[in-house]
């Protein structure tokens, strides 16, 4: 007997360990190795609410689970959106899923980006590669509440033109007169009209008032390390800088210890941390 995939999930909205069945409404290819899934609950329940920065555990039936940030608009109550880079067993299997297929979702988990605390301040987002996905909900939120924030800048680094995530949206965002969007690539051929160089080189060129700025960073750890240094050269203090940490996850609710980072569990105390909470751990080899 073949059991419909959604029946294989126990539907318990209260148990954070049990995946809820979601159906794939749409698969969007973003780049050669990144794709976006648009999901809707398979059992007719409302789409989950989340805060920008939170993540879900996505369960590919028969293969396994991965922690994936929510990359959609927090005000969109119709769909749940995740953007994934295919790097290994689970994410490669996820890449093969098609419209109509079912996927398990547990969450949302983790701490959000400081969008409330940042009200009244300039907001600077520094991100690289797939790191733009966890910050896209912040961009949607700030653009929808533009009057609550000061200057707004997105500094985004990618490897090459073919790795440019959300290219069409980047174009749209650049069209906003009150949103400073700068994109830089590690390498490009001479027909590229944007910047070339690492994302940290954009920081000295960006206008913000260091005393009243909140910076949010997401990317590979070495990129975040140098970004923090560059922001501090501009006068930001560690409590104005927020980073998101990535560690292997299993339970995602603070039980198993898999995601331990010094005294913190990334799934529960993070993934978004004010930098002053983890400054002593950041970049340490043994952690």
């Amino acid at each position: 007997m073949v059991i419909a995939p959604e029946k294989q999930f126990i539907n318990s909205p209260t148990d954070p360990m049990l995946p809820q069945p979601y159906r794939i409404e749409r698969v969007r290819r973003e780049t050669h190795d990144v794709f976006t899934l648009e999901l809707r609950p398979a059992n007719g329940t409302p789409v989950m609410q989340f805060a920008p920065g939170q993540f879900n555990m996505l369960y590919v039936f028969g293969t396994g689970e991965s922690a994936i940030s929510i990359s959609g608009d927090p005000n969109d109550t119709n769909r749940l959106i995740h953007t994934v880079r295919a790097v290994g067993t689970v994410t490669n299997a996820m890449q093969k899923l098609k419209r109509g297929d079912c996927i398990g979702v547990r969450g949302p988990f983790g701490t959000p980006w400081p969008i409330v605390e940042a009200e009244g301040s300039d907001v600077v987002i520094v991100t690289g590669g797939i790191g733009l996905a966890p910050l896209r909900p912040v961009i949607y939120h700030v653009l929808a509440n533009r009057e609550k924030y000061g200057r707004f800048a997105l500094l985004f680094g990618a490897r090459s033109p073919r790795d440019l995530l959300f290219a069409r949206e980047l174009e749209q965002w650049r069209g906003h007169f009150d949103f400073n969007v700068e994109v830089t690539l590690d390498t490009a051929s001479s027909d590229w009209r944007g910047n070339v160089g690492v994302v940290t080189t954009l920081i000295p060129r960006t206008q913000f008032d260091a005393r009243h700025t909140v910076a949010m960073i997401c990317g590979p750890e070495v990129m975040m390390r140098f970004t923090v240094q560059e922001l501090m050269k501009r006068g930001l203090t560690t409590d104005q800088i927020f980073v998101t940490m990535e560690r292997n996850m299993k339970c995602a609710v603070g039980f198993c210890g898999h995601c331990q980072y010094g005294p913190h569990f990334v799934c529960k105390d993070g993934p978004v941390f004010p930098f002053d909470r983890i400054a002593g751990l950041f970049g340490k080899r043994e952690i």
Partner: protein, 155 residues
Amino acid sequence: MTIQTLEPILAEHPFFKGLSQEDIALLTGCASNVVFKAGEVIRREGDAANEFYVIRQGKVALEIYTPERGQLMLQTVGAGEIFGWSWLIPPYQWRFDARAVELTRALALDGQCLRNKFEANPRLGYELLKRVAHVFAERLLATRLQLLDVYGNRS
């Protein structure tokens, strides 16, 4: 006439920030205003390096030609930054191509003129060298990060 108009421009540029009026006046004697159209090649690899540029507005790409991959952009520099330091180091030849990506306004500083002034005024020469060394160090760090290929596959 030209000198009078360039002095405040030089004084405002971040690379010269904090220099005395007297030093700025001395440097302005070696400066000229230049404009490059989008796409214009400013210098080619191997050209004699007689000057360096401080960008006021626009964007310049430093490029290299490779037979296998064509013309590659290694780095872009923009307003508030400088490019070209081969005028300091024998054999005074450009190591890369420089091309304006967009309309670019800059000041060109004549290397021979500067070297002469620095021989006569080592204090100013040392000050400028420190500033250029700072830019060297930043660019070297950025290049190292670029080499790490941080967004590539971990495996």
